[in-house]
């Protein structure tokens, strides 16, 4: 009757600014913890207590896991929670005369107080322990991803550096969770011909591919996008299902767009007078989302209804049952056509759940409840949820296919990360990669200060490669920040490169930089060598 695989990919770029007392973009992390990661943990604990399985794949990028364990950022997150609890208390007073709004103010107050309590008492300041515990109990499967979430096809001229991104991602996963991953999340589902060899050589069993990456592969599989395929390197590729995913993803027709659900855009940061929200927005005058949102989507109108928690909860149940039922029906149709056990692979950005789609974690909870009710015996042959590894163990890949270059971004390839707004970055990042390789050749066995400088140079190159910076430039949102970040990492790298050439490395600046960007503390610069790249042939 088929299976359904749910995969949640969690990622944020390294955003850490000790040089500033507060830094706006650090809120990306704080909002994600409060709106997504903690609610998901809560949801999973509830299901666990009730004996309801919730098999799914989850992935946390190394930059995100670093930030989730960083004392500076967690201290700042605690301050963020304190401020939000304070604002929630003021909101309780402000809304005291209006029960409909007051209920919501109470909900926000309870949530932020609970976040603060759980962060410290339940997880001792490190929420990754919550996910690790669930993975150790076999409730979820944790996957690895690339070190700095680079869009790998744009660096395909440097296979050794891509292998480094993969291996560092796996090592980071081992350090963070104390276990080896079997699966790998390709950032943005970015695949190019030959990447499967790097994945296989790293000891991984599978990755997730864009749908057309497999459909347009050689040969196009007889199972379409409904079974993993074996690549020529022997690793499995699970193609993403686009058919059922649109029920969730579509911003106008998907479940999150239901008029009953909470509106993402209406926020008191924009709605209330500056003298009231001033202490809780940026620099006291720049309006931002505070997280306090009182309205339902309602429809294409500015006259929004007040959000009704109970109606939202009821609709979540309906949508979870609808998703499960429709997936099961779809699977039954597929079973008739394919002749093999179909599997529907549905990867999502974790931050969709809770951050943008407020009811997302509840929807997941209800989905697993429905699945359990419909499939009470987990191992029987009815349609139900499964992890990627469990599926592979039971059924294996269907046939051998060489996947094609692809991504899940707009246009299906590299357009999001390579257009007029961001293509300039590649000249400089590629140059930095080659100069880094040159440094490895020139300084093959350094120690002391020079080794520290070389390791930091390698860190800066890796950080410049993050897919987020060209993504943001393309999206035209916080463009100045993204441009400055690329420039900053290249500046730091160049300064070290030139200092090593002139033998005048400044200890004070290097120490400051190591403290500012301390990700991958065990990084060995010697791994940044290039031996087979075409580019290096020219260099040599």
């Amino acid at each position: 009757m088929g299976k359904s695989i749910l995969i949640l990919h969690s990622h944020l770029p390294l955003v850490r600014h000790p040089e500033h007392e507060t830094f706006l973009e650090e809120r990306w992390l704080f909002e994600a913890i409060s709106e997504t990661y903690l609610p998901l943990l809560r949801m999973m604990r509830t299901l666990e207590d009730e004996g309801i399985p919730f098999p799914m794949g989850m992935c946390f990028s190394p930059t995100l896991t670093f930030m989730l364990q960083d004392p500076l950022l967690i201290e700042r997150y605690t301050r963020f929670l304190d401020r939000n609890v304070e604002l929630a208390e003021r909101e309780l007073n402000r809304t005291a005369g209006d029960e409909k709004f007051h209920v919501l103010a109470r909900m926000y107050h309870e949530r932020y107080v609970r976040d603060r309590d759980e962060l410290h008492s339940l997880y001792n300041g490190n929420i990754l322990r919550g996910f690790e515990r669930l993975a150790r109990r076999g409730m979820i499967e944790l996957m690895a991803t690339a070190a700095t979430h680079a869009f790998l096809p744009n660096f395909r001229n440097y296979p050794e550096i891509i292998a480094n991104q993969v291996e560092l991602g796996i090592e980071s996963h081992g350090r963070d969770f104390g276990m080896s991953p079997r699966g790998f999340w390709l950032p943005e589902c970015g695949y190019f011909e030959g990447l499967d060899r790097i994945i296989a050589d790293a000891g991984l069993d599978y990755f997730i591919s864009a749908a057309h990456g497999v459909l347009f592969g050689d040969p196009s599989p007889r199972t379409g996008t409904y079974a993993p395929v074996r690549t020529p390197a022997g690793v499995a590729a699970f193609p993403r299902d686009v058919y059922t995913a649109t029920w969730v993803w579509s911003s106008d027709r998907g479940y999150p767009a239901d008029p009953v659900y909470r509106d993402f855009y209406r926020d008191i940061g924009y709605d209330l007078p500056l003298d009231y929200v001033g202490p809780y927005i940026h620099d006291g005058e720049v309006r931002i989302d505070t997280g306090f949102k009182y309205h339902a989507i309602t429809g294409p109108t500015d006259d929004k209804d007040c959000y009704d928690i109970d109606r939202g909860r009821q609709r979540v149940r309906e949508h979870a049952r609808d998703f499960f039922t429709r997936q099961r029906e779809h699977s039954a149709r597929l079973g008739e056509v394919l002749g093999v056990e179909p599997v529907i692979t549905s990867p999502f950005d974790t931050e969709l759940f809770g951050h943008w789609w407020f009811e997302g974690p509840q929807w997941l909870e209800e989905l697993f409840r429905v699945a359990h009710a419909e499939q009470p015996n987990f191992d029987d042959n009815t349609f139900g949820m499964i992890t990627p590894s469990a599926y592979l163990q039971e059924y294996g890949p269907a046939e051998t296919v060489a996947p094609a270059f692809s991504s899940w971004g707009s246009g299906g390839y590299a357009e999001v990360w390579m257009d007029g707004s961001n293509d300039w970055v590649y000249r400089h990042i590629h140059q930095a990669i080659e100069r880094m390789a040159e440094l490895v050749l020139r300084f093959p066995d350094e120690s002391g200060l020079k080794e520290r400088a070389l390791n930091q140079a390698a860190r800066e190159v890796l950080l410049a490669m993050a897919s987020d910076w060209p993504f943001i430039m393309n999206a035209r949102t916080v463009v100045t920040y993204a441009e400055r970040r690329v420039k900053e990492h290249l500046y730091n790298f160049t300064r070290i490169y030139e200092a090593l050439s002139q033998r005048n490395m400044g200890t004070e600046w290097l120490t400051w930089l190591e403290k500012k960007h301390p990700v991958f503390p065990n990084l060995d610069y010697r791994r940044m060598k290039l031996t087979n790249s075409e580019a290096l042939k020219g260099l040599l």
Binding site: E19, Y226, A245, V416, A475
Partner: protein
Amino acid sequence: MIRRRLEELSLQALFTLANQNGLELGPDTDRFSVIEELTELISENQEDRERNNSVTVRIQQKKFALINDDDTPLTGEQLDRFELPPEYETNRITLLLRDPHWAFTYWDLNSGKRREYSESTRFDGLFLRILEVESENEEIVIRDSFEIPVQLSDSSWYIHIPRQKTSYRIQLVGRNNHRRELLAVSNRIYVPRASLPMPVESMTPEQMGLYELCGMEYLEVNPFGSDLSLKEQE
């Protein structure tokens, strides 16, 4: 934030910005109206971009949605003074595949060669020579080629790829003193198929049924390989 930024600009700068964005404003248009028009245009453009993005990209944008525009504080005087070089002191060309229809290339010319060309009275231009090559060979076996003239001031270009399931390289060529001078050769890229392997009319009913179940209409690409992507680019 957009409005605040605009309000900081001089009237002349506002008119220049309006002109660059194709806004036709009379010379007597007052400052307030120029800012209004520009704000509206910028937010319309933003909405268009969002509409054209795939759902995965739109969701991802929400992660980075704090404010509509940024006002990033500076992080240090030395960094602010640091400028990325427009080019590096070498002759080389790099080819990157953006999608099966378009590639991006960037190149560097060392300052000596640049000076030689710019001072030469017999310099006849710089060309990108796009070579369709044998896929599997290390040596360049050329099947077909075409040229694109570029300016000495150019350093990058988007190239329409005429054929899929084949490989390409680019040569950077200068013409000077009636001679063709090969300045650099790029890496090789392989351009994959941009569609399903068989045309729709050759599909069996079973295949058609399967592809329908796969949700072809929701793919980010046209599975039947029309030239839609090319038209969009043009």
